[in-house]
C-alpha cells in the first residue's frame, strides 16, 4: 500500500495545524478515563437504540455501529474547496436527470452513449417527461469522498437515491458534546444540529403547487425491520412530521393520504426511504407491500412530491459514474472541481483486457452493487478469490467497473495500544431545494477499524467518527 496521507500527523510525526487542540487534549488525558468514556459512549448508543439491522441475520439482530472518540478534523479552508466542488457536482446531477428524462441533449451531443441510459436498470421510463417541482430530483444527496493528500479529494460515489447515515452524524456530535464539552470550548467547530430543520424546510420548499401554505411532509419507511429504521424514526421525530408505512397510505381523489385518528389527510411531500421498485405495486414491483398503489399516477399528475424523485438511481449508477467529469462539464460549462477516480468500464473490450491483466492492483465493483458487497479488492484478495472473480468478469463484463486502489488517507482511532492510524472516507450530506443547495459542514466519517483495511461499510466492520469542520 505504501505511505498514505495521515490527516492528524505529518510525515515527521508532528501534529498538523487543525489537530493541534485535539493533540494537546489527548496528551493531557488519562488513558483509562478515555477508555471509560469510550465504553460510556457505546452504552449511550445502545440505550438510545441507535442500531442498524443486518440483512440475512436473525430478525431481531440489531447491531451497534462502533463509534471512535477521536474526531476527524477538516479546516475551514479545506472545507470551502470541497463544498464548492460538491455544489457544482450536485447541480450537474440534477441537470443531467432533467435532461435524460426529457430531451437527452447529452446523448445527442455524443457525450454519453444512448445504451448507457436506455439499457440501464436504474432508468425509469415512467419518469419521461415528468418535471418535479423546481426541477429538483435529488432533494437529499450523499457524496462519498476519499482523500489521498493535502488537497486531493476524490468522489468515490454519488448517492442520489436514498443516502443514509445522517442520523449517525448527528448522534455522534451529540455524544461528543456530552462526553467532552471541554474540547468544544477550546475549538471552533461548526454546528451540524440544524440539519433536521433544514431538511424539513428544504422538503417543504419542493411541495407541489396544489399544497397549502404549510405543506405536509412525511417520511415513508419500509418498517421497523429495515436496516435504517432508526434513522427514519430519528428524522421524522426531529422534523416533527409523521413516519408512515405503505399501509398507512391510500390514494383518494388524486391525492396521497395518510390514515390518522381523525380520518385520511393528504400529504404534500413524501420523503421516502423505500426503493423505486417498491414504491408503487401498480407501476413497478406488483408484489411490493411497502409502497402505495397508484402513487406514481398522483406524482405524474403533480399531486405529490416524492423525494428523492423516482429514477434518480441512473445518476449514481457506477457505470454512469465514469462519465461524471463529462456530465459536470456539459451542464455547468466548468471544469469539475472534484476529481473522479479513474474508472475502467469493463463493457469496453480494451478496458476489460486491461482489467483482467491487472486484477491484483485494482478494485472491481458491481455496477449496481452497494454496501461493499460483491466487490473485489485486488491487492488484498487471495489467488482463489481473484480466479473466481476473473470468471464472473468474463461472463458478464458489462456488470463491472474497475478502479485503481487509492491510498486512502488515515485518521487515528483510539485503539488498545493508543492512537493508531486507520483509513477513512467521508459522506457529506447535501440538501437541494429550488432556492438553494445546503451542505452540512462535515458529514459522516466512516472508518475501517481493522488495521490496513479499506472497507469502511458498517455492515463489514466499519465504524464512525465525529467530523469537525473548523471555523477559520
Amino acid at each position: 500500500m505504501g505511505e498514505c496521507f495521515d490527516e492528524m500527523f505529518d510525515s515527521d510525526g508532528s501534529l498538523r495545524e487543525s489537530y493541534e487542540e485535539i493533540g494537546r487534549w489527548f496528551n493531557a488525558e488519562d488513558v483509562s478515563r478515555l477508555r471509560a468514556k469510550q465504553r460510556e459512549a457505546e452504552e449511550v448508543f445502545r440505550l438510545t437504540g441507535i442500531t442498524f439491522n443486518v440483512y440475512g441475520k436473525a430478525e431481531a439482530e440489531e447491531r451497534l455501529i462502533p463509534f471512535d472518540i477521536v474526531p476527524r478534523v477538516i479546516s475551514g479552508r479545506e472545507w470551502k474547496r470541497v463544498e464548492r466542488g460538491i455544489e457544482q457536482r450536485v447541480r450537474a446531477i440534477n441537470a443531467f436527470l432533467h435532461d435524460i428524462y426529457h430531451r437527452q441533449e447529452i446523448v445527442r451531443a455524443g457525450r454519453v452513449p444512448a445504451e448507457m441510459i436506455a439499457e440501464n436498470e436504474a432508468f425509469l421510463p415512467q419518469m419521461l417527461g415528468v418535471s418535479p417541482p423546481g426541477k429538483v430530483y435529488t432533494h437529499i444527496v450523499g457524496i462519498d469522498l476519499v482523500r489521498t493528500g493535502p488537497d486531493e479529494f476524490f468522489v468515490l460515489e454519488d448517492n442520489a437515491r436514498t443516502p443514509s447515515g445522517v442520523s449517525y452524524m448527528l448522534e455522534n456530535r451529540e455524544t461528543m458534546l456530552k462526553m467532552f464539552p471541554e474540547l468544544f470550548s477550546a475549538t471552533n467547530v461548526r454546528n451540524v444540529s440544524d440539519y433536521p430543520r433544514n431538511l424539513q424546510r428544504s422538503l417543504a420548499a419542493c411541495a407541489p403547487d396544489c399544497a397549502g401554505h404549510e405543506p405536509t411532509v412525511a417520511v415513508l419507511t419500509p418498517g421497523i425491520y429495515n436496516s435504517a429504521y432508526y434513522e427514519h424514526a430519528f428524522l421524522a421525530d426531529h422534523m416533527a412530521v409523521e413516519l408512515v408505512e405503505g399501509h398507512d397510505l391510500r390514494v383518494f381523489d388524486g391525492l396521497v393520504c395518510m390514515r390518522t385518528t381523525r380520518g385520511y389527510r393528504p400529504i404534500d411531500v413524501l420523503y421516502r426511504r423505500v426503493d423505486d421498485e417498491f414504491l408503487d405495486p401498480l407501476n413497478f414491483n406488483a408484489d411490493s407491500a411497502l409502497g402505495v398503489p397508484g402513487i406514481m399516477d398522483v406524482y405524474r399528475a403533480g399531486g405529490i412530491t416524492i423525494a428523492n424523485a423516482p429514477g434518480t438511481g441512473i445518476a449514481d449508477d457506477k457505470a454512469i459514474y465514469s462519465y461524471m467529469p463529462d456530465i459536470v462539464e456539459f451542464y455547468t460549462g466548468e471544469k469539475p472541481l472534484l476529481k473522479n477516480v479513474p474508472t475502467w468500464r469493463c463493457s469496453e473490450p480494451d478496458s476489460l483486457s486491461y482489467v483482467l491483466e491487472n486484477l491484483t492492483d485494482l478494485v472491481v465493483k458491481e455496477v449496481h452493487g452497494s454496501g461493499g458487497y460483491g466487490m473485489l479488492i485486488g491487492p488484498t484478495a487471495s489467488k482463489k478469490e481473484i480466479a473466481a472473480f476473473r470468471n464472473k468478469l468474463k461472463a458478464r463484463p458489462a456488470n463491472y467497473i474497475a478502479q485503481p486502489t487509492l491510498s486512502l488517507s488515515t485518521v487515528p482511532i483510539f485503539a488498545r495500544s493508543g492512537l493508531a492510524p486507520r483509513h477513512v472516507d467521508l459522506r457529506p450530506f447535501v440538501l437541494v431545494s429550488p432556492e438553494r443547495i445546503r451542505i452540512t459542514p462535515g458529514g459522516l466519517t466512516r472508518v475501517a477499524l481493522k488495521k490496513g483495511s479499506l472497507v469502511v461499510n458498517s455492515s463489514q466492520g466499519g465504524g464512525t467518527k465525529d467530523t469537525w469542520v473548523l471555523e477559520d
Partner: protein
C-alpha cells in the same frame, strides 16, 4: 396523529401493564405455594388460568410443577403472553411509535427490554425468582415514571392511558373471575385461616394489601374485599377506578377532536351498567356472571376504540 401510532401507543401500554400484572400474579402464586396448608398444584394452575396461559401450558407440559409454571409464565418464547414476550411486544410497539415518544420514555422501554431479555437468558429457578420479579417491578415503575413525567397531555397520552386501564381492568376482572368462589358467602366460609390466606392472596395479586388495611383495618370479609376491588374509587386497580380513567381519557379525546365515536358512549354505558351500583346488588346478580359480562363488555369497548380511531385499515 396516525391511526397506527394511536394503536402502537395503546398496545405498548397494554403490554407494559400486562408484564407488571403477570409478575405480581407470580409473586402471589409463589407466596401461596409456600404456605404449606395449601395445594400447590391447584395454586399454580390458578395462576396460569388467571394469566390466560393455561391451555398453552398444557399443550407443552404433562403436569403442573412450580418450576415449569414459572418458566412458562416468565420467559418461554412459545408463550405469547410470557413476560419476556410481552416486553418484547411493548418494545416493538414503542419502536413503531418512536416519533410519538419522548426520549425518556423510549429510553426506559428500550432499557427494560434489554435488561429483562438479558436476565431471562437462563432457565429460572426458585432462588432467582425474587430478584427477577423485583427487576420487572422496578422497570415497570421506571417506564411509568417516564410516561407520567415527560409525555405531553395530548391525544398520544390519552391512547396510552386507555391501553393501560383497559389492560388493568381486564387483569383485576380475571383475578376475580378465577377466584370468585373464594369471595362467595357460603356456609363454609367462616373466616378460617385458609380463607384468610385466600383473601389475602387476592388483595396481594392486585397489590392492594396495604390499601385495604388503610381503608378497612385488619377486618377482612369477602364482601368488603369484593367491594374494594370492584367499586372502590380510590384504589387504582379497582374496576371502578379503571373505568373512570377510560371514560375520562375518551372524553379528552372527544374534546380534543371535537367529535367522538361509539366507544365514548360505550364507556359511559359500561360505567352505568356495572359500577354505578352497590356490592349487595352485585352479589344478588351473581358475582361470577357479573364479572364475566363485565369482561365481555370491556373487550367490546376496547375493540370499538380500535375502530373509532382507525388503528388498522
Amino acid at each position: 396523529m396516525l391511526g397506527k401510532t394511536a394503536g402502537g401507543l395503546f398496545w405498548m401500554s397494554r403490554y407494559l401493564e400486562r408484564a407488571e400484572n403477570t409478575a405480581r400474579l407470580l409473586e402471589t402464586g409463589q407466596r401461596m405455594a409456600l404456605t404449606r396448608t395449601h395445594n400447590s398444584v391447584e395454586e399454580w394452575s390458578s395462576v396460569l388460568k388467571t394469566a390466560g396461559v393455561l391451555d398453552g401450558y398444557l399443550e407443552k407440559h404433562e403436569d403442573i410443577t412450580k418450576e415449569s409454571a414459572v418458566n412458562w409464565v416468565l420467559r418461554d418464547p412459545d408463550n405469547p403472553s410470557s413476560v419476556r414476550s410481552v416486553i418484547k411486544q411493548a418494545r416493538d410497539n414503542a419502536r413503531l411509535v418512536r416519533t410519538a415518544l419522548t426520549h425518556d420514555v423510549w429510553g426506559a422501554v428500550n432499557a427494560t427490554w434489554m435488561k429483562i431479555d438479558e436476565a431471562m437468558k437462563r432457565r429460572m429457578n426458585e432462588r432467582d425468582l425474587p430478584a427477577m420479579l423485583e427487576l420487572i417491578r422496578h422497570q415497570s415503575a421506571l417506564v411509568r415514571g417516564a410516561i407520567l413525567g415527560t409525555m405531553l397531555r395530548n391525544d398520544m397520552f390519552d391512547f396510552s392511558r386507555i391501553g393501560t386501564f383497559v389492560e388493568r381492568a381486564d387483569n383485576t376482572g380475571r383475578i376475580l373471575d378465577v377466584k370468585y368462589y373464594v369471595l362467595l358467602p357460603t356456609a363454609f366460609s367462616v373466616g378460617s385461616s385458609l380463607d384468610n390466606i385466600q383473601w389475602e392472596s387476592i388483595l396481594r395479586s392486585v397489590g392492594a394489601g396495604g390499601g385495604y388495611r388503610i381503608t378497612h383495618g385488619q377486618k377482612t370479609s369477602p364482601s368488603e374485599i369484593a367491594e374494594f376491588l370492584i367499586l372502590d374509587q380510590r384504589m387504582p386497580r379497582s374496576l371502578h377506578f379503571c373505568c373512570r380513567k377510560i371514560q375520562e381519557n375518551l372524553s379528552y379525546l372527544k374534546k380534543d377532536y371535537g367529535t367522538s365515536g361509539p366507544s365514548c358512549e360505550a364507556s359511559n354505558a359500561l360505567y352505568a351498567k356495572y359500577l354505578d351500583t352497590r356490592i349487595s346488588d352485585v352479589f344478588e346478580f351473581g358475582l361470577h356472571e357479573y364479572i364475566q359480562e363485565f369482561l365481555n363488555d370491556l373487550g367490546e369497548l376496547s375493540r370499538q376504540v380500535e375502530v373509532d380511531y382507525r388503528f388498522y385499515e
